[in-house]
Point group: C2
Chain length 413, copies 2
Amino acid sequence: MNRILIGNAVVGQSGGPTSAINATLSGVIRGVSENRADGKIQTLFGMRNGIEGLLRDDLIDLTSFFDCEEKYRLLEQTPAAALGSCRLKMPEPGADPAFYERLIHLFEKRNIRYFFYIGGNDSMDTVLKLTKYLKTASYQMSVIGIPKTIDNDLMGTDHTPGYGSAAKYIAVTVQEILRDCAVYRIPAVTIVELMGRDAGWLTAASALGRKITGSEPDLVYLPERIFEMERFLKDVREALSRHPNVVITVSEGLRFADGHYVGEGRQSGATDVFGHAYLAGTGKVLESAVKNAIGCKVRSIELNLPQRCAAHLASAVDLSESVTIGKDAVRAATGGVTGEMMVMDRVDAPEYTVAFGHRAIGDIANKVRKVEDRFINAAGNHVTDACVDYLLPLIQGEPEILYKNGLPEHLIF
Amino acid sequence: MNRILIGNAVVGQSGGPTSAINATLSGVIRGVSENRADGKIQTLFGMRNGIEGLLRDDLIDLTSFFDCEEKYRLLEQTPAAALGSCRLKMPEPGADPAFYERLIHLFEKRNIRYFFYIGGNDSMDTVLKLTKYLKTASYQMSVIGIPKTIDNDLMGTDHTPGYGSAAKYIAVTVQEILRDCAVYRIPAVTIVELMGRDAGWLTAASALGRKITGSEPDLVYLPERIFEMERFLKDVREALSRHPNVVITVSEGLRFADGHYVGEGRQSGATDVFGHAYLAGTGKVLESAVKNAIGCKVRSIELNLPQRCAAHLASAVDLSESVTIGKDAVRAATGGVTGEMMVMDRVDAPEYTVAFGHRAIGDIANKVRKVEDRFINAAGNHVTDACVDYLLPLIQGEPEILYKNGLPEHLIF
C-alpha cells in the first residue's frame, strides 16, 4: 500500500484482559495525539467490546476524551480492557462476504482509514481475515495488530506485552507463598496451579526467585512435557525427603500421554472423588493424588484471575513497552504498513534492549509459541537457568501507582 | 505483680501467618533495643516455631542479630512468620503439671523473665494457660499476648494487627476483578470466596470500593447470617436483571440453617457433582448451584493464601500499628503488666486515632468477635455504610516496599 491515507482511525481491544492492554491503548492514543501520525489521523475512535462495538456503531471519541496527562496515567494503571472486549470469531472472508461488506460500509461512513486491534491469538485472526478481505476490496485501510497476552504464546515476537506483568505477579506471589509455607515443620505439599493452557510461560515465571532471592518452587511442571503421574509422585517423595515444606507449581494445561488434561480427573486417585461432569482442575487432581499416594498434608491453590488483572503489581518494563508498541503502531500505520503485527525483538546487547518492528500477520496468526526445549530441564520437572535469564528483564521495575484512599485509581469510561 | 523483674525475654509467633506479624516482631525487638525496657531486658531470644522452639531449646538471639535499621525494615515487609509458627495446643495447667514444670525449667535455665506471644485465638489460649499456671508457681515472669490475625475476630480490641493488610489485599483485588469482569457483555456471575470461617470481616472488606471508587460486589454474604440457597438464587437473578456482570463475594464459613457448611456440598444442585469425602468449597458449591438453577456463565475463584501473605500490598496503617503494639508490649511488660493482651481502642476523634492499651487475657481468649449486626444490611446480603466507615481507615497508605531485581526483598533468618 503506497497511497497516503488521510482520515480517522479506530482502535479495539479483544480477548482476555491483561494488566497492560490499557497501556497499549494509551500508547495508540498518545501516538495519535503526539502527531506521530503526521496529521494523517484526525479522530481516533475506540470500539466498545472490540469489533462488536463497530458492528453496533458503539464508538467513543478518544481524541477528545484524553485531554490531560493524568487520564493517560490512570488508563495505564487500569487493569482489564477499558474499551471492553469480545470473543467474536470472524467468518472466513469467502464464506460470508455480506459480513465484510457491512464492516466496510461502517468504515466508509466514518472515513476510517486506520484499524488498530490489540489482542492475542484470536484477535490476530481477526486482523488476518480483515487484511485478506481488504486485498480483494476497493476500500483502502491500514490494518495493524498489536499483541497482548499474558500467555506469551504469540509467534514472531520475543515476548508479548502483558506477559511481564503477569510473570511479575506470579513471581512475587509465589515468593510470598514460599514464605507462608515455610512457617510449620510438619511435612506438607502445596500445589500452585497457574494459567497457561497450551504454553508454560506463566508457570515458568514461578521460578524467577532462583536468581534473586535464592528461593523457588521445588518442582515446576509445564504443558510442553507429557505429565506422568508416577514420575510426579516420585518427584514429590524425593522433594519431601529433602525438606518438609514442598511447593510445586503446575500449569493448568498439563496433559497425560493420552492427550487428556490432568484437570479432567480421569486418571489417578482423583477419579473417584470428582464427578465426570465437572473439570476438577489440575491442582485439585494432583492434590488428591498426593493425598492418596503419599498421605501427607497437601493443599492446592489456584492463583486464578489476579494473574491477568493485578495491575497494582505490574512490571514497569512491561507497561513501558506496552505504551511504546502502541505509539509505534501508529507510526507504522501512517507510514504505509498494513496487514502486520507489531513485534519486539531482543537486541544482542550487554543491557536488556528491545527493538520494535512489525511482521506479516499471516506468519503469526493461529500459531502457538511454546516454551523452548532449552528452557526446560532434562527431567521435565523444572526450568533451566537459560529460562530464568530470558524472563528476568521482563519483570523489572515497579510503576508508581496512584492510590486514592487506599485503593489504586482506575479509569472507567 | 509488683516486683521489678530483670532478666531475658523470649518472643514467639504462633498460628496462621499474616503480612504484619513480622512488623509486630520488629516492634518487640525495637522496643527492647530502644531501651523502652529501661534496662530490665538484657537479651531478647526468638523462639523458633513458637512454644515448640522453646521446648526443643531452639532459640535465636535477636538482640545481636538486629544490628541495623535495614534489617528491621526488611523484617517489617516480610510476610508469614519469620520465626516460624506452630499450632501446639497447650494442656490445661491442672491436667499436665509436668509439661509446665518443664517449661519453667527452660525459662529458669536462661533466666527468661518476659514472655511475648504474638498470635490469634489459639495463641491467646497459650498465654492464658501460662498465666494461670504462673499464678500457682514461684517462678516470676511477665506474660503478654500481642494480637495478630487476618480474621479480626479477637475480643477486646477495635481490630487486630494483620487484618488491615488482608483487608487491603481483598479490597484491591476485588476492584481488579470487578474491572476484569466488566469487559464482556454476556451475562456472567463471578463468585469470589474469601477467608473467614467464623467471622465475616475479610469478606466485608470486599465492599470497601463503595466509598472510594464507587464500585463494589453486587452481593456480599457473611457467615454471621444463615445462608439460604433459594434466597441467594433470587438475589442473583435480581442482580442479573440489573446488569450482565454480577460479582458476588462469599465467606468460606457460610452455613445452612442446619449448621452444615455450604462448602460441604450437602444441599442444592451441588450434591451430586462432588464426592462426600471432599470439601468442595463454598464458591464451587454456589457456582454449581447457579449453573444448575440459572444456567448462565458462572465461575468461582478463591483468593486463598495471598489474603494472608501478600505483603507487597500491605496497609501502611496496619504495619505502623503492628510495630507500635509490639513496642508497647515491651513497655507494658517491664512496667509490671502480666496476663494481658495488648489492644487498640479507637478514639472518638475527627481523624482516625487509636489508643494502645492492654486487657486481661481471661476476658479475651477463646472467644470470637463476629461482625456486628449494625454492619450487615437487613436483607443479609451486603454490608452497611457504617461497616465501610469502620473499615476504611484500616487499609490506608502504601508502605514503601524495597525491591531487588523485580521482587520484594524478604528477611529470612
